[in-house]
Symmetry: C2
Subunit: 388 residues, 2 copies
């Protein structure tokens, strides 16, 4: 049987993203026991392939039902103890939420904030790290609210120079599978993400990967972990068990979503991961050039070097706002996202181009459709490019 | 397009259960925004229908990515504070796990344990409630490890008589959708479950429903909630928002699983819920009579009045053990579950009959197939019913 998903509007928000027929079909797999040999193999293979996506050999994946929000929770409750100091690099909405999460656990949070469209500089970072002893520093790789791309490699480098005991945690919700990440080489201690963005799977999974140093930090904590569902100590034996072909029970895994993840990761790892990053970069560059050159619109990230490759955040021109554009795109079968960052909420919109929208350009033409629609709706809204 | 799931062995473990084609097809829905009008309606309707399944008008559902284990966590971290006393009624494996969960949060747990195959009596319960002031009492409605059915109505009655301030929490993981539950009438304060059993949806969702009294208890706690992802204060605005048609964000919901839940709940609520309970009872009675009369085997629950209607736990006869039976059933395309309760692990096996296996008897004949297979494999193993 060849499965084709139902006709639907093209979803180009910065997550959830379009999912392939194969992945959706796996999400409709018949029921099977979570302790069966066949599911154990599926889950074990997914754990191994997730490592490949993060270019890590030594990282320990933990894959559970949940979302990116649970990933923050896991980092906070496993790697910090009450009274610890944490440095959150803030490049948009999601830095604030991560900070709120830490504060739940009695952790003292310092946010190093950048103006909208920017991220903290290397110098600001070094200075902040010198001023206080931080247990963890967190980086939002791509802040979905601004489309700003941080550089975790440089962050990890500065940490090693200035404060080598500080753990480096990467929020890769909007970057894993679409942006270059080299967990081992860069020296990242935790990477967390969810299933519904660069990994091309429906939402419902939380995926984290912890370095040996991070696992050691959990195992040698002074205080007990203040969480049950989010405690890595409960999940580590399960993950190691499934990978070794010996299923163990802590919570029933989301079987169909793990099947879908397996199918998507197989497609992703069937080619060198560098090729996937390049395809995302090419699709992004092409689309951003269209926005700049053909539409004459400005983007939220101040500089192309700090603009995400999996999404584009675009300022409306003077006199045009969301109600002029977004409903007209809907009429043309295209779903983009409005603004999210509270300081500029009504001034911009967001287009996602992760997964098959970026990689399967020859068969899908998603971004060509988006460009054509944008041309038309801006024209219909009475806008002409002043620089053209 | 008519979707048919792939041919597969018949899954009759006590969860996950067989899922209908319609529900699986909904789980393969195309990507859509979690903030869209259409998804908001789907989610809002699921929240409302979940109330109908629990026969509550005032209960507040909270439906998130997760599993039953997260449901325990939610009850523990929201409704108890460090130092509180909790009474766990223990009728098998899952009472112990719930107790471990409470202890994570510095709560003092008393377990009222019954011998394998039994549940604590009304008198034992009243005595325990008199001896100490408990913040919560928990009941495992059906303990999946033993198939023992507790009586939450009586538990709530005794609590009202002896200790009316104690909150009554029901672990309905293996009972919601298959056993009679009347949340408002019985006076239950929280009911929690997961998607993959009586609700007939793939695993990956945690569903809880909190009474007004439970919500008030959370809102008037003395200490902060020691969890981020499991905190109801983070989820309540989201649930109320989706129900009122105003989507709000705390974590990306598992869109496809919510679509699947919506489809399954539509089927469940299309008929009076009493009819569903009756169908489960009929299927169970018929199957248990076969086990007793035709095979001459004993069940783990000591008395039919405390045997679950959604599953049957069956002792192997002398001289026969799991390797004689379970692989032979697999060869015949039937998957049952082995033992789980550590005291009797190798002495029994379990058959699940929830959802479409129990309700769609005229079209599916699942239990007829199971019976026929059991007849044959016991015969092949050299067993004859001594009472026949």
């Amino acid at each position: 049987m060849t499965f084709h998903q139902v006709d639907h509007p093209l979803l180009v928000i910065p997550g959830s993203i379009e999912v392939s027929d194969d992945v959706l079909f796996a999400n409709a797999s018949p029921s099977q026991s979570h302790m069966s040999k066949s599911f154990t193999e599926t889950f074990g293979a997914a754990i191994k392939m997730f490592r490949q996506v993060l270019v890590t050999e030594r990282g320990q994946p933990i894959i559970t039902a949940g979302s990116g929000t649970l990933g923050w929770d896991m980092i906070a409750c496993n790697l910090t103890e009450p009274g610890d100091e944490v440095l959150v690099l803030h490049s948009g909405y999601f830095g604030q939420s991560f900070a709120d999460c830490f504060e739940t656990y009695g952790v003292k949070v310092t946010q190093l904030k950048a103006p909208v469209g920017q991220c903290p500089s290397r110098e600001q970072l070094a200075e902040a790290l010198k001023s206080k002893k931080y247990k963890i520093i967190t980086v939002t790789h791509v802040d979905t609210s601004t489309g700003v791309l941080s550089n975790p490699q440089i962050v990890a480098e500065v940490v090693r120079e200035v404060s080598p005991d500080t753990l480096v945690a990467l929020d890769g919700v909007c970057s894993v599978g679409s942006e270059e990440i080299r967990m081992d080489e860069w020296g990242l201690d935790v990477v967390m993400c969810a299933s519904q963005k660069g990994l091309g799977v429906p939402p419902g999974l939380c995926l984290v990967c912890a370095s040996e140093r991070a696992i050691k930090a959990v195992e040698t904590r002074k205080t007990k972990i203040n969480s049950y569902f989010a405690s890595w100590l409960n999940w580590l034996p399960i993950m190691r068990g499934y990978e070794q072909g010996k299923p163990l029970y802590f919570a029933t895994p989301p079987v169909q979503l793990i099947c879908a993840l397996n199918v998507s990761l197989k497609a992703i790892t069937s080619k060198p991961i560098e090729e996937r990053w390049t395809k995302h970069k090419q699709a992004s560059t092409d689309f951003k050039q269209f926005i700049t050159n053909e539409l004459g619109l400005k983007q939220v990230p101040q500089d192309p070097s700090i603009a995400a490759n999996g999404m584009t955040a675009i300022y409306f021109p003077d006199g045009i706002s969301a109600p002029d554009i977004i409903p007209r795109l809907v009429e043309r079968g295209i779903i983009v996202a409005g603004g999210l960052h509270k300081d500029i909420k009504d001034k911009y919109f967001r287009v996602g181009h992760m997964g098959i929208t970026a990689t399967d350009t020859e068969t899908r033409h998603d971004l060509e459709k988006v460009k054509e629609a944008l041309r038309n709706v801006f024209k219909d809204a009475g806008y002409t490019n002043p620089t053209a």
